[in-house]
């Protein structure tokens, strides 16, 4: 009875929404309660939650999802330039355009499985990245990145008589600016909806069939399922989530650059998902939060700050420690990420969520894992 209550969608969503919306409060003790970082938590959380619908349910490892994030960002900035500074059309268009590209790339990549699928997605994403830098410069503005300009047409805005006199216009949601906490709350609200959709998919027969494809695709074919359209649908949905995240990134900071599509960015969402727990509902979101939080701390450090941190040590030790830790901070933060990732994969292959399960088990209220997480029987 109690178990069923905890497992019900409504209860999960209420708890989830409460936790997300109060983030500015409970992140204060770890110093993460400023809007920039909170926005990143929510946006990359959406990216990872969507990626998990492909990777977590079907087991197909895409190394190219940053392409859809980038496409979403470019689309949103174009919507700001051509249509309106309102984020609603920008985000909707970002999702649609990313979805179309996902349909195309997914259709081609899904002709193969396993490592060949991964490499195909990687190749397509790198193509998108190179194109954005070269021939597509008129659309992407190449290396500089796509930016707003004062003389952009913004046809919808000008229809409503909005004139921009000095400086650049700001993105807004029907007048509310997208900067600071309001930006976070918009992203948080979208995250809640995105999470709800993912929850529904996980607990639907459709989600169950995706899991079965992951478990034994050959069996699925002889059981009467045409597996290709199932995989393609999952691919497109996760691509649309990536587009949504990209559109949100641009909504908060109206700028789109090709580096968003680079393979390192595609790799990052894989790390987030694995680190949090592939195929679990909440794991990928946790992974996104952990990585963005650590990135925020480690990439901001530099040598002089390290020296200060280790000031309490005798000088000779301080010099050694600072020199050893220095490559792991600032630009070198990816080294820390790599090391952390290795530790997690070796000791907790199921990610942070496996750790949570283990702790639950220690305290005696561990539950037998059912196949779809939390599925009510």
């Amino acid at each position: 009875m109690m178990k069923n209550l905890i497992k019900s969608n409504t209860v999960i969503m209420l708890i989830f929404a409460a936790v997300v919306l109060t983030a500015p409060i409970w992140t204060a003790p770890i110093g993460a309660n400023y809007p920039d970082l909170l926005q990143k938590f929510a946006i990359f959380g959406i990216f990872a939650v969507g990626y998990n619908i492909l990777f977590g349910l079907t087991g197909y490892l895409s190394f190219g999802h940053a392409a859809f994030l980038g496409i979403g960002s470019y689309t949103a900035v174009w919507s700001f330039k051509l249509l309106t500074m309102n984020v609603v059309p920008a985000i909707i268009l970002a999702v649609i355009v990313a979805g179309i590209f996902a349909l195309l790339i997914g259709f081609l990549s899904l002709r193969r499985s396993g490592i060949y699928f991964s490499i195909l997605t990687l190749a397509f994403a790198q193509m998108a990245y190179s194109l954005a830098y070269s021939v597509l410069t008129p659309i992407t503005n190449g290396e500089t990145g796509l930016q707003l300009e004062q003389q952009d047409p913004r046809v919808i805005d000008s229809m409503f008589g909005v004139v921009v006199k000095d400086g650049l216009p700001s993105t807004n949601l029907f007048g509310t600016l997208m900067s600071g906490y309001s930006g976070f709350y918009v992203a948080a609200a979208i995250l809640i909806v995105a999470f709800y959709i993912s929850l529904k998919i996980f607990r639907s027969p459709f989600g169950m069939k995706l899991l079965a494809i992951k478990s034994n695709q050959t069996r699925m074919k002889y059981t009467g399922f045409n597996t290709r359209p199932y995989l393609l649908t999952a691919f497109v949905i996760s691509g649309m989530y990536a587009g949504l995240a990209g559109g949100l990134l641009a909504s908060i900071d109206p700028l789109a650059g090709a580096e968003r599509m680079q393979w390192t960015a595609s790799g990052e969402v894989v790390l987030m998902t694995i680190m949090g727990g592939v195929g679990t509902l909440i794991g990928p979101l946790l992974g996104a939060v952990i990585i963005k939080y650590l990135e925020n701390i480690f990439s901001a450090l530099n040598k002089s700050e390290l020296t200060e941190i280790f000031n309490y040590m005798p000088e000779w030790l301080q010099t050694i420690v600072v020199n050893v830790t220095n490559p792991f901070v600032g630009e070198g933060w990816h080294l820390t990420l790599g090391a952390l990732f290795m530790l997690i994969v070796i000791f907790l292959p199921g990610g942070v969520m496996e750790g949570v399960d283990k702790i639950k088990g220690l305290f005696g209220f561990g539950k037998k894992k059912s196949t779809i997480e939390g599925e009510a029987k």
């Binding site: 607990r203 899991l211 069996r219 074919k221 002889y222």
Partner: protein, 263 residues
């Protein structure tokens, strides 16, 4: 055993005509002709490597024969996708259990039931598994028929090999196939388990179903089959009732050997 063979009006359900299949230089099937009649239980026997599994693979779209035809209820099966063949009503149970090891037993049986209901593709992401009561109950009662309902929520990968085979039978049965193809359903089972499985295949819905059973256990074959075909080195060397097969000198020589004398 069914009455099908005594019924003169019984019609051919599966017709395999002149099928050849080679793997490189190996002639796995040579000019195989076989008719499966509605209502019968047809056993295919033959030594290891005779081509029995290959023959089934040619029926369900896993392999495409080099030439010849496979017609099921009047429809040409060659070149048809495996999932379409399934929906045409021909369902295969594999030699090495093909199940969903990471999913629960219940889910393993619900999935083929979904295939029956939803067709080859259906996008229903906002339907809830929790509300699939009809299919869940059907799956539970199917599990119960195979005495697997006690551990319905266990991972299918964790159960014994014999139970996995029975699970796969349940997965086939829940689709109410017109023709069930079973590839050595008792291989690797202890005698007790084998008897239990024969009992299952012989009674209830399974008993009435038209089926093709590949089997090397003579005990199973003679207690199940209405007709038997003997396959040796890719050739069908005899087809007939168990009595006829037992007494066929060619068969004795080629395959049955001493085992036949024991039976």
């Amino acid at each position: 055993m069914s009455e099908a063979m005594t019924n003169t009006a019984s019609k051919t359900m599966l017709e395999i005509k002149g099928v050849n299949k080679t793997f490189g230089g190996l002639h796995a099937l040579s000019d195989v002709n076989l008719q499966i009649v509605e209502g019968e239980t047809h056993a295919i026997i033959g030594p290891n490597g005779a081509g029995k599994s290959t023959l089934l693979n040619c029926c369900i779209g896993k392999l495409i024969p080099d030439n010849g035809s496979v017609t099921f209820n009047g429809r040409n099966m060659i070149g048809m996708a495996p999932h379409d063949i399934n929906h045409a009503g021909m369902v295969r149970v594999f030699q090495t259990p093909e199940i969903f090891p990471e999913l629960s037993l219940l889910d393993n049986v619900m999935i083929p039931a979904f295939a029956k209901r939803d067709g080859t593709f259906k996008f229903n992401p906002f339907k809830s598994m929790a509300n699939e009561k009809v299919i869940r109950e059907e799956a539970m009662s199917t599990l119960a028929e195979f005495a697997l309902d006690k551990f319905y929520d266990q991972h299918a990968g964790s159960i014994s090999r014999g139970d996995k085979r029975r699970l796969e039978l349940a997965m086939g049965l829940i689709q109410h196939p017109t023709l069930l193809l079973l590839d050595e359903p008792t291989a690797g089972m202890a005698r007790h388990d084998t008897n239990q499985t024969i009992e299952l295949l012989n009674s209830g819905k399974m008993g009435e179903m038209t089926k093709v059973i590949i089997e090397h256990d003579m005990h199973v074959v003679f207690s199940l089959a209405d007709r038997i075909s003997v396959l040796a080195r890719g050739h069908i060397i005899a087809t007939g009732t168990p009595e006829e097969i037992k007494n066929d000198p060619k068969v004795k020589e080629a395959y049955l050997g001493e085992e036949a004398v024991d039976e």
